[in-house]
């Protein structure tokens, strides 16, 4: 089938302002991934089209874009799921709320700054076991934070959040998800420090429970629930 692509283009080296580039691809298969088709545009028609990508199967988190207005990983969207007619159109834009570097590439530094701010690393509650072996953890305690270990830092959640759009100072859903992963890990001992960070003005209370983040997550993490659990933990800790 034939598919038209409408792609938001902007190269600050040459363009005064963003514009829509339009490209038509023939011989598109229903099972083609949007990433493959963006590659076809770049390779066959216009090499200046710029995007990030790596693993191409939804694990590395490089290719988050807005497809028909919804945050997705381009490698996880198949043409057949877009309900297109022959000659139909797909619109692709950069994710919102981070500065555009070029075309579909945004500046990830503010996103990673927020991630780094929540102490996203293990702070053991107990010394190393004397027998030289692993710390033990029950399967139930391990299951408690399983959902938030799945995060690939693609920024689909954070850049779908109106509170983040309103203020880039908000740490955003992804950073909270990564704090949650440690707050609810029974081996970790820095819960109070993380809760203190997240109860500051840029923390969880900027979340207005709009739920955009949850359907945006390509890993199906229950992001809003995780944020809610962190809010509850802060309240129970008397802050």
């Amino acid at each position: 089938m034939k598919v038209k692509f409408r792609i938001r283009r902007f190269n600050p080296e040459v363009d005064k302002k963003p514009y829509w580039g339009e490209y038509t691809l023939d011989n598109v298969e229903p099972t083609d991934r949007i990433l493959e088709l963006l590659h076809r545009v770049k390779w066959e028609q216009d090499g200046t089209l710029t995007l990030r990508r790596s693993c191409a199967h939804g694990v590395c988190g490089s290719d988050a874009v807005r497809i028909n207005g919804v945050n997705k990983l381009a490698c996880k969207v198949l043409v057949k799921t877009l309900d297109l007619k022959d000659g139909g159109q797909v619109q692709v834009e950069p994710i919102l709320g981070l500065p555009v570097v070029k075309d579909l590439v945004v500046d990830f530094e503010p996103f990673f700054d927020h991630y780094r701010a929540v102490m996203p690393y293990f702070m053991p509650a107990t010394p190393r076991p004397g027998d030289g072996r692993e710390r033990r953890q029950s399967p139930e305690d391990r299951a408690r934070f399983d959902d938030t270990t799945k995060c690939i830092l693609c920024a689909c959640c954070t850049t779908s959040c109106p509170s983040f759009w309103a203020s880039g100072e908000y740490v955003g859903p992804a950073a909270i998800v990564n704090a949650h992963r440690f707050i609810f890990d029974s081996r970790d001992g820095a819960t109070q420090e993380r809760l203190n960070i997240l109860s500051e003005e840029s923390g969880v209370w900027r979340c207005r429970t709009i739920f955009n983040c949850t359907p945006a997550c390509p890993r199906e993490i229950e992001v809003t629930r995780a944020i809610g659990e962190v809010k509850l933990a802060i309240q129970r800790n008397g802050r």
């Binding site: 190269n11 600050p12 080296e13 040459v14 099972t31 770049k42 390779w43 066959e44 216009d46 090499g47 200046t48 710029t50 995007l51 990508r53 790596s54 693993c55 191409a56 199967h57 939804g58 694990v59 590395c60 988190g61 490089s62 996880k76 198949l78 570097v101 070029k102 590439v105 990830f108 990673f112 780094r116 996203p120 690393y121 293990f122 053991p124 190393r128 030289g132 072996r133 692993e134 710390r135 033990r136 953890q137 029950s138 399967p139 391990r142 934070f145 399983d146 270990t149 799945k150 995060c151 690939i152 830092l153 440690f182 890990d185 081996r187 970790d188 199906e220």
Partner: protein, 595 residues
């Protein structure tokens, strides 16, 4: 062009498992920087699924000696036995260290790390599969990558994210730095260093069907090669038996570890014929060849080029009962152990693997060869083991050689941690006693000229045309089975493509900012170099061993080829020599390989 210069004791190129492990250790004793063309969490380590091998013996009796022997046998005896010993001995402590760093492994009821079966990992006495693969569902690599990045943040490791290394700088033959392009603004940076470690991963993008990320273009080995150093065992590239058909993405061996079986068009569990004892859990080379032979014999599903991987509970339970095992599984168990596989099947094929079998085909997966190193991850320049001062390599890009002619599943992650750690320690020690080798005059001059040539190229051949032609010819003639005429055709094609790359390239993007058109074209040059070296190495190994199967030389030949291949860059060409001996220090004599 303006060139910025930085100075660090240690520079690590690549931020996957090996690179970050090396960086964590090096940075404790030396001023260290990591440069990576991807954000660290985008690295391909994150896509590893099934597990990391270590003889923890949490569930079954196990010993590092068994792990070492399985590694040697899996490598079809080309594995250096001292390397297998290091891997298997240190794996135990390395996995414990990951857990202590916070890695969320799956747990046994007693709280210890959960383990499962994987191909080629056995109880050496009973020859039956042993539970050795430590895992976190089917996203073990993701957890390793995240945990290492988290610890790098904790220990304040310096990263240069989205800086692509494009040249290894030498002065009078001595290694002294790296040139890299800052992808964001296109500026060239020179990193002056005492010690440099390549940890850039693999080069699966040489082939049409691959589990590998787009970024796996072999930049590391190409840079080392262009600096005048050899590459080892390049003919050995693993085809993983179970790539999702038709896209090629990886379906972990853990599917078979949990009880899944391979089924042909006639409904036969055909691995019973090829590996009567261990069946579907034979080594990857054995299983990939078996699938090819089934397809060649017309027993692919519906006559097509794939077979089925069946992990439906009723199928798994039938074969568990047949084997006299008490264990039974249900759909919820499969989902809990293989959630990502379930998601891939749903997203890309619209099927539920607990209800329908998964269509699979072999897919280009892992380079056993690479930059030759010794046990301390020091790069060597001769078959005799001459060390290149200040140069290191670890992970898939390196050839220790711990995987020999065929890598066992789970040993890649073990390799990253064990040898990444060794590289980090060795570099910190080296940096303490070594001085900086001065940079040459105009250290980035040559590479800037090459980059500008590509940027301004105005021929008629776009990079993707050359890339696709290379990938097709490598898939047709340098994959699971090889023979002389096909290898010659591949070599001729690759050489013709190299001349088109030099003379007729067409790049659209002439800008500085985030110019991936230019960088993809540059990466293609790396891949063409490696395709030529791989094909020539394959031509000169006139035997079948592990991942290298010659239809015209179907037998293993220990008299002439129990030796590593070294490819040396020589003026105007490539010289292949079989001058690096295989280490046999554990005393495992080459035997017929039966599973």
């Amino acid at each position: 062009m303006d060139v910025k210069t930085h100075q660090f004791d240690v520079v690590v190129i690549g931020a996957g498992g090996a690179g970050m492990m090396a960086a964590l250790y090096a940075s404790r004793g030396a001023k260290t920087a990591v440069i990576s063309k991807l954000y660290p969490t985008r690295s391909h380590t994150g896509t590893a699924q099934g597990g990391i091998g270590a003889a923890l013996a949490n569930l079954d009796e196990d010993h590092w000696e068994w792990h070492a022997f399985d590694t040697v046998k899996g490598g079809d005896y080309l594995t250096d036995q001292n390397a297998a010993e290091t891997l298997a001995r240190e794996a135990i402590d390395a996995v414990i260290e990951l857990e202590l760093m916070g890695l969320p492994f799956d747990r046994n009821p007693d709280g210890t790390i959960s383990q499962r079966r994987f191909g080629g990992h056995t109880n050496n006495q009973t020859k039956k599969p042993v539970r050795r693969a430590c895992h976190a569902a089917d996203r073990t690599g993701h957890m390793i990558l995240q945990t290492l990045y988290q610890n790098c943040i904790k220990e304040k490791v310096t990263f240069f994210d989205e800086y692509q290394a494009i040249d290894l700088i030498t002065n009078d033959g001595k290694v002294c730095g790296v040139a890299a392009v800052c992808i964001d603004d296109g500026e060239i940076h020179v990193f002056h260093a005492k010690a440099i470690c390549f940890a850039t991963g693999g080069w699966g993008r040489l082939w049409e069907t691959t589990s590998n990320a787009h970024s796996l273009t072999g930049d590391g080995p190409a840079l080392v090669w262009r600096a005048g150093l050899p590459l080892q065992d390049m003919e050995f590239f693993q085809f993983h038996p179970t790539g999702l058909y038709p896209v090629g993405l990886l379906i972990t061996e853990a599917v078979r570890g949990e009880g899944g079986v391979l089924i042909n068009d006639k409904g036969e569990r055909f691995m019973e014929r090829y590996a009567p004892t261990i069946k579907d859990l034979a080594s990857r080379d054995v299983v990939a060849r078996s699938i090819y032979l089934e397809v060649q014999a017309g027993r692919g599903i519906g006559g097509k080029r794939y077979v089925h991987l069946d992990v439906r509970p009723e199928t798994v339970n039938r074969y568990l009962a047949e084997a006299g095992e008490d264990r039974r599984v249900d759909a919820a168990y499969i989902l809990s152990k293989l959630p990502d596989i379930t998601d891939f099947c749903h997203t890309y094929l619209g099927i539920d693997p607990t209800k329908s079998p998964i269509p699979i085909q072999p897919t280009a997966h892992y380079g056993m060869g690479g930059i030759p190193t010794n046990l301390d991850a020091e790069v060597i320049s001769t078959g005799a083991g001459t060390v290149v001062p200040g140069l290191y390599a670890a992970g898939e890009v390196a050839c220790v050689s711990v995987h020999g002619a065929n890598r066992l599943g789970t040993n890649s992650l073990t390799d990253l941690i064990v040898f990444g750690r060794k590289a980090g320690k060795a570099m910190a020690d080296y940096a303490r006693q070594a001085d900086f080798v001065p940079l040459p005059a105009n250290p980035a001059g040559k590479i800037v000229a090459e980059i500008e040539r590509i940027r301004k190229s105005s021929g008629k051949t776009k990079p993707y045309m050359i890339r696709q032609e290379m990938q097709k010819v490598m898939m047709d003639h340098v994959s699971v089975f090889r023979e002389a005429p096909g290898l010659q055709k591949a070599l001729d094609t690759v050489r013709e493509l190299k001349s088109r790359y030099q003379d007729d390239l067409a790049v659209d993007d002439r800008g500085m900012r985030f110019n991936t058109d230019l960088l993809e074209a540059w990466e293609l040059g790396c891949m063409l170099d490696l395709a030529e070296i791989t094909t020539l190495s394959a031509m000169e190994r006139k035997e079948s061993r592990g991942g290298h199967s010659r239809e015209d030389y179907p037998k293993r030949d220990d008299v002439n080829f129990l030796v590593h291949t070294m490819a040396y860059p020589e003026k105007g060409g490539i010289r292949i020599a079989h001058d690096r001996a295989v280490d046999l220090s554990l005393g495992y004599q080459p035997a017929e390989r039966v599973y």
